[in-house]
């Protein structure tokens, strides 16, 4: 697990997962998109409590390595202010076959999104900003009053 204030370089990350035994590589990237919940997004700020994000992220990766017969897995999360199109998070997994590469990659990003102490604040085109609600709650259909400040 790695947290960085610099641009994530997926191709360099990928190269670190190479392995002569590996026949499959699955990766996921989260990109900053220009809209969310019907609002036009201008940029996005990630706040991360690094000591615990690293610890919990490492735990997630180790869980993936235990659960699935994969060779290598890694996750990098960006912090600070990001622009539309930037890569906020990258996950990569190499394994002998593709089933487990896909499954482990999916497992890692799912867990990272709900377990790591990471928060994002959206800055909207209309000048407002707001902290983004947790994804798990959104999935479960919970009502989260959105905290918006101008």
């Amino acid at each position: 697990m790695r947290i960085t204030a610099d641009r994530i370089e997926p191709d360099k990350q990928r190269d670190e997962l190479c392995d002569d035994r590996a026949g499959a590589y699955a990766s996921f990237e989260g990109w900053i998109r220009n809209h969310n919940d019907g609002e036009d997004v201008l940029r996005l700020e990630y706040e991360i409590y690094e000591p615990l994000a690293l610890k919990e992220g490492q735990k997630v990766i180790e869980e993936a390595l235990e659960k699935f017969p994969i060779f290598h897995a890694e996750c990098v999360h960006r912090e600070g202010m990001l622009e539309i199109g930037d890569c906020a998070v990258w996950v990569g997994v190499s394994s002998a076959h593709r089933d487990e590469a896909f499954e482990a990659c999916r497992y890692i990003i799912d867990q990272v999104k709900v377990r790591l102490p990471i928060w994002k604040k959206e800055y909207y085109v209309d000048g407002n900003s707001g902290w983004v609600n947790c994804e798990r709650c959104a999935i479960h259909g919970h009502e989260h009053p959105k905290v918006v400040s101008s």
């Binding site: 989260g30 990003i109 999104k113 709900v114 102490p117 990471i118 928060w119 947790c134 709650c137």
Partner: protein, 81 residues
């Protein structure tokens, strides 16, 4: 009995508290008690279950007992990725 605690606020909690860190002396048993007592500070409309807590840099359960000198981190709902 009062306990001396250091509270760290993150993201929306920090903005509401107007500070990222404060020291308190409170008579609280568990992390959940603390969360309730500090509601006016972090201004959370979130149910406890959507938030997380860490004690001395370890993720903890809300029913974890607090000790004098603990550093308690209050996390609003996370949204990584």
């Amino acid at each position: 009995m009062n306990k001396k605690l250091t509270i760290l606020y993150f993201a929306s909690f920090r903005e509401h508290a107007g500070t990222g860190e404060e020291s308190v002396e409170l008579d609280v048993g568990t992390a959940a008690d603390l969360f309730e007592q500090l509601k006016h500070r972090h201004g959370s409309a979130e149910p406890l279950g959507h938030c997380k807590v860490a004690i001395n840099d370890e993720m903890a359960d809300w029913d974890a007992a607090l000790s004098d000198g603990d550093v308690v981190l209050l996390f609003p709902p996370v949204a990584g990725g």
